[in-house]
Amino acid sequence: MKDSLYFRSAYNDLMKNKGVNVALVVVLVLSSFLMATGSMVMERLVGSVNQLFDEAKPPHFLQMHKGDDDPDALARFAAAHPEIDAWLVEEMLGFDSAAIAWHRPATGGSGDLADSLIDNLFVTQNEEFDFLIDETGAIPRPSQGEVYVPVAYQQRFDLQAGDRLAIRTDNGFQDLRVQGFVRDAQMASSLSSATRFLVSGADFRELGRAGGGEPEIIAEYRLADPSLAADFQRAYESDEALPKNGQAVTFQMIRIINAFSDGLVAVALVFVSLLLIAIALLNLRFVIRGTLEDEVREIGAMKAIGLPHKAIARLYLAKYRVMTFLACIVGGLLAVIATNLLTRGIQANYAEAPPSVTAILVPVLALGLVYLFVVAICRGVLRGVKKIQVVNALVHGSMLDERQTARRAERQARRVRKTSLASYRGGSISRRLAFLDLRAEGGQWVLIPIVFFLATVLMTLPMNLLSTFESPRFVTYMGAPESDLRADLQFSDDIDAVREDVLSSMQGDDRLTDVRAFANVLYETQGEGWEILRAEVGDYSGDTVEFLQGERPEPGQIALSVLNANKYQLSTGDKLTIRQGGESTAIVVSGIYQDVTRGGYTAKMQGEATTGAAGYVIYANAADGADPAAVAADYSERFPVATVIPMREYVQQTLSYVTGAFRSAAVLSFVFGVGVAVLITSLFLKLRLTRERRKMGVLSALGFSIGEIIAQVRGRTILSVAVGTLFGLVFAATAGESLVGLFISLAGLGISNLAFLPYPLLVYVAFPLILIAAGYFGAVVLTARLRSADKSGWLKG
């Protein structure tokens, strides 16, 4: 009985104010939708990663290695370490992307994988752990002539089972049939720089005999206690005899990398959702207060017949409960669809987690929190009912008691005493009026600047983040000079000869200037035991790299990446002991720079790019008029073992995993920001205009035209919008930047001091103009109908 009363009251109320309620529900739906989607994507990601880890049993520690190695040393090490549960050495053959072609006999379609920058490693299935898993979760074992291709390639090149793969060896092509696709727990993340193809033992031996592949190994270990992986890594790295020419990765790192690259989307969604919830709450507050003011007489009457204030508040709350509840349901349902779309990539790369309780529980919990929070805020605003006094409400239609009324009159009197139209010169009287109103009623209008402030922040931050990561100048966060071209030479037997070739042709090429070679040299340094320290040795003169602290290394000095400096707790001027070939030296840290490459752990030393290094990087600038892309293509052709690409493309490819997420976030928040801005402006003006009817009627009677009255409303709107947008921009450029910077530095990418590299025209000109236009659009739509109205009606209402 009582419930049905509440429900009927809520229903009537919803119908009475359709436009406003619809706008509120839309904002609430958007908020709950994003919140649910964010939480579901996170849950699925964690579930999928865990599922794949369960099936594939990745190693707890692994060390990649190119070049000669000593199998006995590995066996000795394993024997000496009882914490090892199982271990293996996986042999791999690396083939260049351009050396792998596919064709489809059914249709005659064909192509190659040359567009891919990552390493293609051919392996056989492991026996004990670190399995490659097929789409059903089984462990496939290809027969001769069959190959299993990474799912990432399946998506990227649209491959199908039954396609043929041709691998170019030194002895012609080896032809394999694509039998299926495999997921790789170790190399699943879009961050990974390599991927594995599965072939039979016979084909593997055949590929090795034919030549053209680059042999590589991974030493892999499963530990009895995976949490000791870091200690184990130290033990491994301090052993001189073990192979170490390549990346070393722990179990935990694989997990973090996976979560980070694909979890960013989820984090961005939750961030956008939080801002939207803030906007929704501001609106609710505004609408509820307006309703209470409008219905103060009814409330007074209810109080007069003895209804307790709590019951009255509940009556009003019913409506917002219904609205929020509906919004959460609708948002949740939409989120199911969106999540399925968003997680398609995750599902393919990792695994389909079996349906579980948490998959339902997590979004329901998130939505439940949204619901409770929104209702709690509504309840708080409705506490205003308690303060309404029967007499004042019924007689004066006022929410205030005598003292408040008197104080308000006092304030108003003081204000109007000071203004005088008589002494005001210049400008139209209409504009003056709009300004005075805005000054006096700023409190009512404050919703608009706040909403536009939030909308601006919402739109600007993801966009700035995206433009920063997309900027060619981002190389300064990659510890690289701002040059036009980058050539990457990975370790191979004849690497020094190749390097000589590439370097001398580049230096002799008049399309290129400022050619510099850097050698990747492995040192060891004293952490908790001896650990690997990768240094790029070369010529750093001419301030090519930006330093966060200190300056470039002189001979005999070293510069460290932020993460290395933090790891060894060193700052500029401190000494660091390094060791190579058993020979230790102490060198001075000259400076610290930001670097996201190689996990963020790098170092730089001034010197000759000596021979015998693990790899080389050559940077060059394009001479005036030369096209870096054309030059790069030219060199790639001439030197197939070298990866030569324009710097811009290098940055793009290396960071594609984050820029993809940031782009989605930027697009999403742009659409939502503008949409919400229009919506809220309309909602606000709808309520505001009903409240200003009396005043508009008076102005009209006095001889103000509808055009002028509308212009006043639009003027006030634009001004409020502009103020909010301006503050939003300033905030985003200052505190917002620091906030995002903090988030990025906590993410452990190797950036500790992020400065946005924005598209200034877009962010500081187009965005504010678009937002102001959005506000103006709302104002135009809402004021348009004033023209046809009977003005006398405004005086009656």
Binding site: A409, Q412, A413, R415, V416, R417, T419, S420, L421, A422, R425, S428, I429, S430, L433, L436, D437, R439, A440, E441, R694, K695, G697, V698, L699, S700, A701, L702, G703, F704, S705, I706, G707, E708, R787, D790, K791, S792, L795
Partner: protein, 256 residues
């Protein structure tokens, strides 16, 4: 068109239908009326008979559904909203039951507002005229007060000042004493009589026979139709009681 020099305002076959209701409400059903120059005309009728609607239709606040309104020979129904606003600003004054002042301006600024808007170039004259009005209606001392700080009578006198600020040729008043007690009513009616004596044309809607008795002529509305009118002649203090009695008798005949 025919134009009698003595007629300031004229309506021909005026109708007004509100389409916002279902079915539409036809409130004015074809009214021909004229207001002579310098006349004090009172419109009476039962509540809901369409008095306010008539007033707003002939003053250009609302657009009539059909028919024409002429002000000094000019057809108001053909004007654009901007032109009509200009007419309201410079040729018309309005007084309402409630004073309806802008609460972000003090009393004097409220009155100055139309004057400064009408003649931004002649500020000094406008200011002097408004200050003279404040003086004349005895509210100069509250000019800088906020609108909540003065009495209802003072506020309604300020309304009259505001209506006169642009020296209009015609003044419209919709129950200007409807919300006032009897002493304040007399205060305000004296002021209006004064304005009329100075030569301003006045059209007033009222329920109060005592107020109506001050008019030169009274017309009576029933269901949106003009049913009758009565000439009262020029008002004087001495004949007030007689005029009121005669008017009441007539009104009773009308079914008031």
């Amino acid at each position: 068109m025919s134009h009698d020099d003595h007629v300031t305002l004229e309506s021909r076959d005026l109708t007004k239908t509100y389409h916002s209701t279902d079915p539409p409400t036809q409130v004015i059903n074809g009214i021909d009326m004229s207001v002579r120059k310098g006349e004090f005309l009172v419109v009476m009728g039962a509540s809901g008979s369409g008095k306010s609607t008539l007033l707003y239709s002939i003053s250009g606040m609302d657009r009539p559904t059909s028919g024409n309104v002429f002000l000094e020979g000019r057809d108001l129904t053909s004007l654009s909203d901007t032109e009509m606003s200009r007419v309201r600003l410079t040729r018309m004054g309005f007084i309402f039951q409630q004073a309806y002042f802008l609460n972000n301006l003090n009393i004097r600024d409220n009155i100055l507002l139309p004057a400064l808007k009408a003649a931004p170039k002649e500020r000094e004259t406008a200011i002097a005229r408004v200050d003279a009005l404040l003086e004349r209606f005895g509210i100069a001392h509250v000019g800088r007060h906020g609108i909540t700080q003065v009495s209802g009578g003072q506020l309604q006198r300020a309304s009259i000042c505001r209506a006169l600020a642009c020296e209009p040729s015609i003044l419209f008043a919709d129950e200007p004493t409807g919300a006032l007690n009897s002493s304040m009513t007399i205060e305000v009616m004296d002021a209006l009589t004064d304005v009329h004596r100075e030569g301003t044309t006045l059209v007033m809607v009222t329920h109060d026979p005592a107020c109506a008795a001050r008019a030169d002529r009274v017309i009576y509305l029933r269901d949106g139709l003009l049913v009758d009118g009565r000439e009262l002649g020029t008002w004087s203090e001495e004949q007030a009681m007689q005029r009121e009695d005669a008017l009441l008798a007539w009104l009773r005949k009308m079914g008031f």
